[in-house]
């Protein structure tokens, strides 16, 4: 079935559009295969609203006399209302939106049709590959190697074709270890500390089962990871009880007797449906400003969203303590190793590694730890907070990551090169995008669908200088130190920029952001026209500003 066959009514005139905090507009509504287009054809300055159909999470129709009203709830949390004259047109539009907003086939999705004139498909896709990352990371060369045993994705379908492994462990052992891990996700290198060489590994749970099976090769692999040092930590993202219970269904945990140099720490993390429901509850609480403060607070509490933020940041902090302060390597896993595992390992890197706090570094981190590492974006982000569809495998773990990063930025407003705007953009793109970056569930699927050949890469486009500028933090001041976030409930806040994005609250914040930029720009102008670069990458440790000024005066 052609996409256009879903469209029974393509154009409706005299439609009224209502958006929060804007006057109602009349104009023409138009449905295409991938977009909803509204334009008010008023004289010379016509205003248009273009919404990707994939961005639409839920629609509600209501009949009012002979006309109908459609409420459109987007995955970026915007809610719109369209008043459509003519009931039939209204129903046609609604059914087109319903059909076209939930396309299943990847190659029918908009990124495969998005062809802007300023981009070509011939360039490299993505920012980096495992091999390139390895080449650029000199500290890995000594003890680690790139293994291509997964080049046909047969060992682990959700891993990329190349992974970084200890030199002394050969591919045969890896294959056996993979068989011992859920989904074949054997322990692979996620990060190697930029000073002490300790590593963060990630994997899925071992398949010990009720009979406490063991796997010599898996043990050897982990032994090789710590390379003779006394101790490593396994951060298991389930409670001890859950880990025990997992044995009944074939999963399990690394037992002390077989992994004698590894110490296991359990931290309970909610997953899957629970987190998705948290998001639904939170968004619901935010979209009803009428109730009292008490009801708001209990709804906020009841959503548990901030509790998830709290656990993610605390466990990431724990990982960093192990690696940075105590100089031990860490293996992180939960069950599948595709969700919370990635959340914790990437947050730990943000806290730990100054390189991941730049725009490029952060996007590379996302590419490595989420896209290449096989976070099933398509399943997790099929629906967002408004959908009435039955939940399948939706889970806003990536949104949770962005929220945690936002919390870190609130606490260290100078430490990240990027601004909240980048996080908001990513929060939008992950659910509906012109780009192919967040399509599919794994590299294997992306290869099969030809994503790299037929779509544009979001990260590359974000890094174009004219685009990147809007995502920079004007106050960026790099620091080499780990940035330890506070995880006290008093220190964690609702991410108003995202969850209250379409309220009057956001407008005043926008004004403040502009003022920050203008203060900084004014400083640049004073400091001289040569400094066009907006990033403030001069970190001067030795001279205090005052001393420096004194020097200058003596020269005079």
């Amino acid at each position: 079935m052609e996409l256009s066959e879903h469209i029974k009514t393509a154009n409706v005139e005299d439609v009224t559009l209502r958006r929060p905090f804007h006057p109602a507009l009349r104009g023409t509504l138009c449905v295409t295969s991938h977009h909803l287009l509204f334009s008010d054809r008023k004289d010379e300055a016509s205003w248009q609203l273009l919404i990707l159909l994939k961005n639409i999470d839920a629609i509600e129709k209501r009949a009012v006399g002979s006309s109908g009203t459609i409420t459109i709830k987007c995955k970026d949390l915007l809610v719109l209302q369209l008043e459509i004259p003519g009931m039939e047109e209204c129903l046609n539009i609604a059914s087109s939106i319903e059909a076209l907003s939930s396309l299943e086939s990847v190659t029918e999705m908009y990124p495969f049709f998005y062809r802007p004139s300023h981009l070509t498909l011939n360039g490299p896709w993505g920012l980096s590959s495992t091999e390139q990352y390895y080449k650029q990371t000199e500290r890995l060369w000594d003890r680690w190697r790139v293994s291509t045993l997964n080049s046909d994705y047969s060992v682990c379908p959700s891993y990329p074709s190349a992974v970084i492994m200890p030199r002394e462990v050969d591919d045969d052992k890896l294959i056996r270890s993979a068989r011992f891990r859920q989904g074949g996700r054997f322990p692979v290198l996620s990060y190697c500390h930029h000073r002490n060489g300790m590593v963060i590994m990630r994997s899925s749970q071992p398949l010990t089962g009720a009979n406490k099976k063991r796997c010599k090769e898996d043990e050897l692999l982990l032994q090789a990871v710590i390379d003779g040092s006394e101790l490593g930590y396994i951060i298991d993202l389930r409670s001890a009880q859950q880990a025990q219970q997992a044995r009944m269904t074939g999963g399990g945990f690394e037992s002390k007797s077989f992994y004698s140099h590894w110490k296991r720490i359990h931290r309970h993390h909610e997953r899957g449906k629970v987190v998705q429901e948290s998001l639904i509850k939170l968004v619901e609480a935010c979209s009803d400003p009428s109730h009292s403060v008490d009801r708001w607070l209990s709804k906020l509490e009841n959503s548990k969203w901030l509790s998830h933020v709290h656990s993610a940041l605390s466990t990431a902090g724990l990982v960093v303590e192990c690696v940075e302060r105590d100089g031990h390597s860490v293996l992180v896993h939960g069950s599948e190793g595709t969700d919370n595992t990635l959340l914790v390992s990437s947050l730990a890197q943000l806290i730990l590694d100054p390189a991941s706090r730049t725009v490029t570094g952060f996007l590379c981190l996302l590419e490595r730890e989420w896209i290449q590492a096989g976070h099933p974006f398509q399943q997790r982000c099929a629906h967002s907070a408004y959908s009435h569809a039955r939940l399948k495998q939706e889970c806003p773990i990536f949104l949770l990551l962005l929220d945690c990063v936002w919390q870190v930025w609130r606490q260290f407003p100078l430490a990240l090169e990027f601004s909240e705007a980048l996080l908001l953009r990513l929060a939008q793109e992950v659910y509906a995008s012109n780009y192919g970056t967040f399509l599919c569930n794994s590299e294997q699927e992306r290869c099969a669908a030809g994503v790299k050949e037929n779509t544009h890469c979001l990260f590359q486009s974000l890094l174009r200088p004219d685009i990147e500028e809007q995502y920079l933090n004007p106050l960026y001041e790099p620091t080499d130190l780990a940035i330890w976030p506070s995880v006290h409930p008093q220190s964690l806040q609702l991410w108003t920029g995202l969850f209250l994005r379409w309220t009057e609250y956001a407008q005043n914040m926008e004004e403040a952001r502009e003022e920050v930029w203008s203060i900084v720009k004014e400083h640049h102008e004073q400091a001289g026209p040569d400094r066009t670069n907006n990033t403030l990458s001069t970190h001067c440790d030795t001279l205090t500003p005052f001393e420096n000024l004194m020097d200058e005066l003596t020269i005079l």
């Binding site: 400003p289 509490e301 709290h310 105590d326 004014e522 020097d551």
Partner: protein, 644 residues
């Protein structure tokens, strides 16, 4: 001095609230005005000075292994924990401090002994810094409709009101006297704020003594005159800030509220702000929540909700918004009262003024506003803040709530205020500390009788001189949306917990880098560069461009406390079973006690813990592996407290 039973105790331990590992040993001194703790081997800057007048409570705890704990709870929400080795010393300190922190007479307060080494002229100058007459003339008063009536010059009509009061010119003395007799404590309707643009006013009073049916012609004439002094309007609002039930209950005691039938052209409205007792209990609960030791997210939010604090803040804000809209948008005058007209009335009038008039969003404007609506109109600071030992039931955080409303507005309008939250917190401290004379006593008359201006100093000039610390770099006075009426959202999610006030002393809770400080520095640098540039041009020195740039880049680097960034947080998550990585390290950490200062570059602010990390093995106690499982699974490497 006679109250000090023990002027000095050695080997006292000062325990950090968040981490018992960060303990400091030193000597405790009691002076007539302060408790001083001097850390052993540390520099002066680590001394801890606590004003006795800031102490809210002193509590002895049960003896522990290391000694006798003594808690000093301060009115600025600081809690100081000492452990004193000897029981008798602890008791003596406790008895002395209990007495010192509960002065019985005004004369004992610190402001009477505080002598900042300035002469008489300077002291008088500090009192002249704010001039309410100038403030009224800024509003456009007196004018042809309003004037100062000298009737209360001797405080005979109302001893809790200021001497100078604005009333409509058309009102005669008998009307004022009659109206005052019909109002609680003689607090007749008088002007608080005048809007030059449309002549609408905010007036304030106490409740009328209406009982079930009483009426007073003079009082009715008074309101009529107020309404008529706003020529454009056909009615006025009378806002009773109490819950309707409370107001009705007052009728049985011969008090009550205005009957719309008796007064011409008034619209009467209840607003429902709770009384001082409810507010006191609410804040108490809030303080308990803020002091929880690593609570879970759920515990914190539930506690915050159960305190009801933010609900009360919202109701005050809504009242202020209602009044400011009536004045600015409808051009209608408003009379505000509660019971006595010095608590809720002061809150609501001043919140409305902040919303209405951008001047009150400047440093000096806020000072004037507090001086006018609170100090001069007889907010009972000494009772409400517990300056003297007395009725605990009179204590209530009424002014705290006003400051918090301003803070909530600052959060919503980051560019609308000239001052920052440090300013609000400084004012808060000074209200409670009795360091300056401004907030002593309960009325202008009492202050006059005590000759405060001759004996003590005024805080406002002191704060003004420190104004650089209090500036908001984002302030944009010329922006149109910051000029007229502020229209805050009162959606519940706009009311936030004020961490900086309630957890001010828990350093690890706050952002490690300050956006505002950074911006302030940038702004100052810009200004400096401008001046420099002018200087260069003046000297016409041929200066190599690159040289200039280098220096400017260096200027950019900020006085950041980066050492703080390197402080790991407590990732324990409230778990009881904490284990330490290596026993040896833990011991060494206990020896070095107050952080590893030698390692840190900036000992002053360093928070750095020594190389010990605590983890919990579980996110919460219930998650821990049941012991029977441990038995079944002997290879489990769960680390319970017994193995630590």
């Amino acid at each position: 001095m006679e109250h000090i039973r023990m002027p000095k105790v050695e080997h006292v331990r000062l325990v950090d609230r968040s981490s018992s590992r960060r303990t400091q040993v030193g000597t405790l001194y009691l002076t007539a005005t302060h408790t001083i703790f001097v850390g052993k081997g540390s520099e002066d800057r680590n001394d801890l000075w606590v004003l006795h007048s800031l102490v809210c409570n002193v509590v002895k705890h049960k003896a522990s292994q290391s000694g006798y704990p003594l808690l000093i709870i301060c009115k600025n929400f600081q809690v100081i924990r000492f452990i004193i080795p000897q029981e008798s010393d602890c008791h003596d300190v406790y008895i002395s401090l209990s007495r010192l922190s509960r002065p019985e007479k005004y004369e004992e307060l610190y402001c009477f002994s505080f002598n900042p080494n300035v002469d008489k002229a300077e002291r008088e100058h500090s009192w002249d810094f704010l001039d309410l007459k100038a403030e009224y003339s800024r509003m456009g008063l007196p004018n042809k409709l309003w004037h100062v009536n000298p009737i209360n010059r001797e405080y005979r009509v109302c001893d809790t009101y200021p001497a100078d009061l604005f009333v409509p010119k058309s009102v005669t003395l008998p009307v004022i006297v009659g109206s005052s007799k019909f109002r609680s404590r003689g607090r007749f309707p008088t002007l608080s704020y005048y809007c030059k643009e449309n002549h609408a006013t905010i007036c304030r009073s106490s409740q009328p003594l209406s009982g079930f049916s009483a009426r007073c012609l003079e009082d009715e004439q008074m309101l009529q005159a107020i309404m008529k002094s706003n020529p454009g309007s056909r009615f006025m609002y009378v806002v009773d800030t109490r819950p309707k039930l409370n107001a009705m209950a007052n009728r049985a005691a011969g008090k009550g509220y205005e009957n719309e039938d008796n007064y011409c052209n008034i619209k009467f409205q209840f607003i429902g702000i709770e009384n001082i007792h409810v507010m006191r209990n609410s804040q108490q609960k809030l303080i308990e929540v803020s002091a929880l030791h690593s609570p879970s997210m759920g515990e914190f939010l539930t506690g915050l909700e159960n305190s009801d604090w933010l609900r009360h803040i919202k109701s005050i804000m809504e009242a202020g918004l209602f009044i400011s809209k009536a004045v600015a948008e409808e051009g209608v005058s408003v009379l505000v009262h509660c019971s006595d007209g010095w608590d809720r009335t002061a809150q609501v009038c001043s919140v409305a003024s902040v919303l209405l008039d951008p001047y009150y969003r400047t440093l000096k404007g806020l000072m004037v506003l507090i001086e006018k609506d609170w100090v001069s109109f007889g907010h009972m600071f000494s009772h409400r803040c517990g300056h003297l030992i007395g009725e605990a039931k009179e204590v209530s955080p009424v002014i705290d709530q006003f400051l918090e409303c301003v803070w909530q507005l600052m959060e919503q309008f980051p560019c609308a205020f000239e001052y920052n939250e440090k300013f609000l917190i400084s004012i808060h401290i000074h209200i409670y500390s009795c360091h300056y004379g401004n907030f002593i006593c309960n009325s202008q008359k009492e202050r006059k009788d005590l000759c405060i201006k001759e004996k003590a100093h005024s805080v406002w000039l002191h704060l003004w001189e420190k104004k650089l610390d209090f500036m908001n770099p984002l302030f944009k006075p010329d922006q149109s949306q910051n000029q007229g009426l502020l229209r805050p959202s009162t959606a519940p999610y706009c009311f936030k917990y004020w961490r900086r006030l309630y957890n001010r002393f828990d350093r690890e809770l706050h952002p490690r880098q300050s956006e505002l400080d950074c911006l302030m520095t940038v702004k100052e640098e810009t200004q400096k560069l401008e001046e420099e540039l002018a200087l260069y041009e003046g000297v016409k020195l041929n200066f190599s461009k690159s040289g200039v740039l280098d220096s400017k880049q260096a200027l950019w680097s900020l006085p950041l406390d980066t050492s703080l960034a390197n402080t790991p947080q407590d990732y324990i998550g409230g778990a009881p079973n904490v284990f330490t990585l290596q026993q040896g390290e833990r011991e060494s950490a206990e020896l070095c006690l107050f952080g590893d200062q030698t390692k840190s570059s900036d000992a002053d602010n360093s928070d750095q813990e020594s190389g010990v990390a605590d983890f919990s093995s579980h996110s919460s106690g219930e998650e821990s592996l049941p012991s029977e499982d441990s038995v079944k699974d002997p290879d489990s490497d769960e680390t319970g407290p017994n193995r630590a």
